[in-house]
Amino acid sequence: MNKKTIELQNIETIYEGEKIPAIHDINLTVEPREFISIIGPNGAGKTTLLETINGILEYTKGRGFVFGKEIKKNKLELRKEIGYVIQNFELDPLAPFLCKDIVMSGRTGKIGVFRFATKKDWDKVWFSMGLVGMIDFANRPVGKLSGGEFQKILLARALAQQPRLLLLDEPFSNLDYASRLQIETLLNRLHEKYNLTIVMVSHDLSFVPSRCNRIVVLDKGKIIMDDEKSRILKSDIINDIFKNNGGKK
């Protein structure tokens, strides 16, 4: 049986101490090897949706499955199969971490407790750093990288995990045009070559990778459109949603 990679049924997630759900009535199915973009303005609930999928946030209603397993009951086990690239964040330039150690930290869950990293684990680290073209940065301090380089290291960290599903939160945010193009090419290559299922979140319609053929539009915590990329990009609703936030270019 061909298991769906992600299956969300009437999902609702409410942050602790809040009354209004950040996302609600979410029904979403993602097939293996799909590359989808979840777009929406700031505050639409995109990050909440990603973090509900990998179990960092617990849904308050509905049922959610990843690789056919219920998220709530299997979150620690599932996270080892899900690579997560967090939204580019500000890192202290003096932070005491080398790039190779950060990439290796992606494998921590997979290595497991009471076990040490082996040569095989380091081989995966070198391989994923090579994939993103950052092998020469292995011994560089991570705080000294540019936005684009840091994004690549975070991507290599997720890839070192050898994930079956890759969740990307605003992979193009805070990047200059050249770095955006590099990351876009990289994502297309990864999807083509390694048959990864990729779910990418963005508030910017101008950078939807070419291999991404499905777009889910999220607004005010709810999915309002879910269709092929070409149809979504032509839709008038998109203009209304992004009128004051982001924008179709």
Binding site: E16, R79, G83, L94, P96, D101, I102, G106, T108, G109
Partner: protein, 274 residues
């Protein structure tokens, strides 16, 4: 210079060495995880606990450990949920603990006990017992095993908690372990460094080491080294000058930190790879 029996000197040197090691090892995590405010409160809670122990005539160390644990239990979940700003936590709990400590000190029966209380406040080389040494040695051993066995998990959590959680690390467990070990290190070092100053031994050596290295492994190795050196130099400074040992240790570690800031290669514009 104060003349002391050689057995007492040896006990004191070992005590300083172990207190420096345990506090500055935990300092690596406290500094990186921005737990300074929590640790600060814990050190004062331990001080209040020690005063409470003296007041009800039990070993002050038991009181210190109990109060430090209690603070970790309250502050851990509170700061987890980020409902309180760290300066609010300091303002509220720091003053509460100091107030409690002074009330407990006021009710300590007898002159001798009051002298003991003052030693907890300032720290004293004469207070270090054989049992303290054993406990500090045991804690040092546990910390070495903890860091070696869970190095990958700790590094992952130190870099970014949410990312560590996303790759399958039980970050809550490590967060609470760091809090508890910090509480124990503070409580066991209280008699040597003193309740008012013990936290400096957690922050200063690590902050000094941070000025030199980009490699977390090197920070993990050299922070305890600086901590131990600060304690030993502070100990001898205390012997020569008759300063309280806690104050001497803190002055030495603060001087190391000031020197590190001045010569830090990480703060220079053109730097060499470290």
């Amino acid at each position: 210079m104060i003349e002391l029996p050689s057995a007492l000197v040896l006990t004191s040197i070992l005590g300083s060495l172990l207190a420096g090691f345990t506090c500055s090892t935990m300092g690596v995590f406290v500094v990186r995880m921005n737990l300074a405010s929590i640790g600060y409160c814990m050190s004062h809670a331990a001080f209040a606990g020690a005063a409470f122990g003296l007041m009800i005539s039990i070993d002050p160390m038991i009181g210190a450990l109990a109060f430090a644990f209690l603070t970790a239990l309250i502050l851990g979940p509170l700061s987890e949920k980020a409902r309180l700003q760290s300066n609010v936590v300091i303002g509220f709990l720091f003053s509460l603990m100091i107030a409690l400590a002074f009330i407990f000190l006021n009710f300590i029966p007898g002159q001798a006990a009051s002298a003991k209380a003052l030693r907890i406040l300032w720290g004293s080389i004469l207070s270090v017992s054989y049992n303290d040494l054993l406990l500090l040695a045991f804690l040092s051993f546990v910390l070495i095993v903890f860091v070696i066995v869970f190095y990958e998990e700790l590094l992952s959590v130190m870099f970014h908690r949410k990312l560590a959680e996303a790759s399958g690390v039980n970050t809550k467990l490590f967060y609470f372990l760091v809090l508890f070990f910090t509480g124990i290190a503070v409580s066991l070092s209280l008699r040597i460094v003193g309740g008012l100053l013990v936290f400096a031994l957690i922050i200063n050596p690590t902050s000094t080491t941070y000025q030199f290295f980009y490699d977390f492994k090197k920070i993990m190795i050299f922070s305890p080294v600086i901590g131990v050196i600060s304690c030993l130099v502070g100990f001898y400074l205390s012997l020569f000058t008759d300063f309280p040992i806690g104050a001497s240790i803190v002055i030495v570690s603060a001087l190391f930190f000031a020197f590190a800031i001045a010569v830090s290669p990480k703060r220079r514009k053109t730097e060499k790879s470290l």
